[in-house]
Amino acid sequence: MIKLNNITKVYRTKTIETTALNDIDLHVPKGEFLSIMGPSGCGKSTLLNIIGLLDEPSGGTIRVDGQEVIKYASKATAKFRNEKLGFIFQSFHLIPDLNVIDNVELPLLYRNVSRKDRKEMAAIALESVGLANRKSHFPSQLSGGQKQRVAIARAIVGNPAIILADEPTGNLDSVMGDEVMEILTKLNKEEGTTIVMVTHDERMAKKTDRLIRLYDGSQVA
């Protein structure tokens, strides 16, 4: 489903050149739950951003369902992110001025979905993460675990084929982290959603189908 060939990422300033990713080759089959581990600064998040087309690689190719996605124009990139990808971030990235249901329906705003359908789809997504009774709450009224579940609902509301999760349990205690992992695992097993997760937590990584490790921008295992 996702195929990365010779992906490199180099950050250049006038005096320094830093290689964040070095010749990464990766194949993530459809329906796989893959975790990426490694020490801080090893390039995990950079790799995830590149897969999610949030960042451009300095070299290499990315194919999703056989299509070369790096060459997409910005409008097509936005459409691809909207329809194929769902993002989950460590710091949740909920908009504080919108209530839960409005946060969840955000991806649908960028599709031609009617207001009524948006509300219905967001309600279903919230129900699937067990937050149907928190629709009108604002992010400031939720716990960390609840915020992350809202973020998961937002990631799945548009039925994406791939979910990219950047340390989804990083800001949560173990109980809440387990809850979040349970939802992601269920999503992967029952819906067949491909998930790529960056984590620091060995325990969480063991719950996934496959684990790869990065060190100084290179894949070591």
Partner: protein, 387 residues
């Protein structure tokens, strides 16, 4: 999308209220200044009613001090001596109510079956030819009118439209200090300048000896300023006085207009300064908001927003906020014509409302455009990481 943005605005009503207040106040100031300027500019579109080019005025030095016989002789001599000059084509005597003098005389009564109020201009029969008054109905005063049974009276068109709409009143009688006969209608006589209120005006025939404050002259076209010396000598010799002053009516008109324009320019400058301040304020607030909301921008891009969606969102947010401020502003502004709070015609206020809306919206759009375009250029990976 509009519903989504309205919700965002509503949920941030606390921080948005100051911006709404700023735009609301800017709208009100702009509205009042524009209403005032439009009203006054509209007055300039009405005709002045008399010619000023090649028209001179000599302000006479205290002829009132002469006894009646001496005064009559002086006035007659002055008229004949002036007409004897090749450069002088017509002569008319005036009292202190002469063009651009600033003096005015108003009168009114209800003896005509209605209450009227009008400005009064005492004139002699030479005024029409001297200042090229445009007679739209009937005739101007003649020398014979001094001996007529009924004293003649002339109205301006505005007077007739106000008090006798769609009627011809020529040869009708009019009660003002006795019975008078309406002999003619002039297009206008706005002797106080183009920015003068359009006020009903009547002209009364006065003997030349009573109009002894000034003499109006129709000069031969192109008479040079140097002729003033010769004219001054003739007037001074005839009146045996040296304090006579010669004015050029065209220069007087320009000077009078300039004073009014200066007021408008000052008002519009203050208003423009205010608008620039509001624009800079808006620009700053938008810039700050966009920097503060970088993570949100990155998130929206991650969720499928393209550059245009991001720009559109920020522009729409400001435009919708502005519309809220304008709706409140228009509610207050529209009370002025609805409650008839001033004598300005209502149409001026509605025009001022429309122009103010267009100016404020354009200003806000321009101020929102650049920060919004910059917002669209933010890269999602960096902005999400920054948070």
């Amino acid at each position: 999308m509009i519903g989504h943005i309205l919700k965002l605005i509503w949920n941030k009503k606390g921080s948005n209220s100051l911006m709404i207040l700023e735009i609301f106040l800017a709208f009100l100031v702009l509205f009042f200044v524009l209403a005032y300027v439009l009203y006054n500019l509209d007055k300039t579109s009405a005709p002045l009613g008399f010619a000023t080019v090649d028209r001179w005025e000599v302000q006479l030095d205290n002829l009132d001090a002469l006894d009646s016989i001496e005064l009559k002789t002086t006035i007659e001599n002055l008229e004949s001596n002036l007409l004897a000059l090749e450069e002088v084509e017509e002569v008319s005597f005036a009292n202190s109510i002469s063009p651009f003098s600033g003096s005015m005389w108003t009168t009114g009564n209800d003896e005509n079956g209605f209450e009227f109020s009008a400005m009064v201009v005492p004139a002699d029969y030479g005024l029409a030819n001297t200042l090229d008054l445009n007679i739209v109905e009937g005739r101007f005063f003649t020398e014979e009118d001094y001996d007529a049974t009924y004293k003649p009276i002339i109205m301006t068109k505005h007077f007739m439209e106000k008090y006798y709409p769609n009627k011809s009143m020529i040869d009708s009688t009019f009660l003002l200090q006795g019975t008078r006969k309406i002999v003619g209608v002039v297009e206008a006589y706005r002797y106080r300048g183009a920015f003068e209120e359009l006020y009903p005006t009547i002209m009364l025939l006065e003997p030349k000896v009573d109009n002894n404050s000034a003499v109006l002259l129709k000069m031969k076209p192109g008479t040079p300023t140097s002729f003033e010396e010769k004219l001054s000598n003739v007037v001074n010799t005839t009146t045996k006085r040296t304090g006579n002053v010669i004015n050029n009516l065209e220069k007087e008109r320009i000077s009078e207009d300039r004073e009014s324009w200066m007021i408008f320019i000052a008002l519009l400058s203050i208003c423009g300064f205010l608008c620039v301040n509001v624009a800079l304020g808006l620009f700053g607030v938008l810039w700050y908001n966009i920097n503060k909301r970088k993570a949100e921008i990155g998130l929206r891009q991650a969720l499928g927003a393209n550059g245009l969606d991001i720009s559109k969102q920020f522009i729409l947010e400001v435009i919708l906020l502005t519309l809220v401020a304008l709706i409140i502003g228009v509610f207050f502004a529209v009370q002025v014509p609805l409650l008839q709070l001033t004598e300005f015609p209502n149409v001026m206020f509605y025009k001022a409302i429309l122009y103010s809306i267009v100016i404020i919206l354009s200003l806000v759009f321009i101020c929102a455009l650049f920060p919004s375009i910059q917002a669209a250029k933010i890269t999602p990976a960096n902005s999400l990481h920054e948070d």
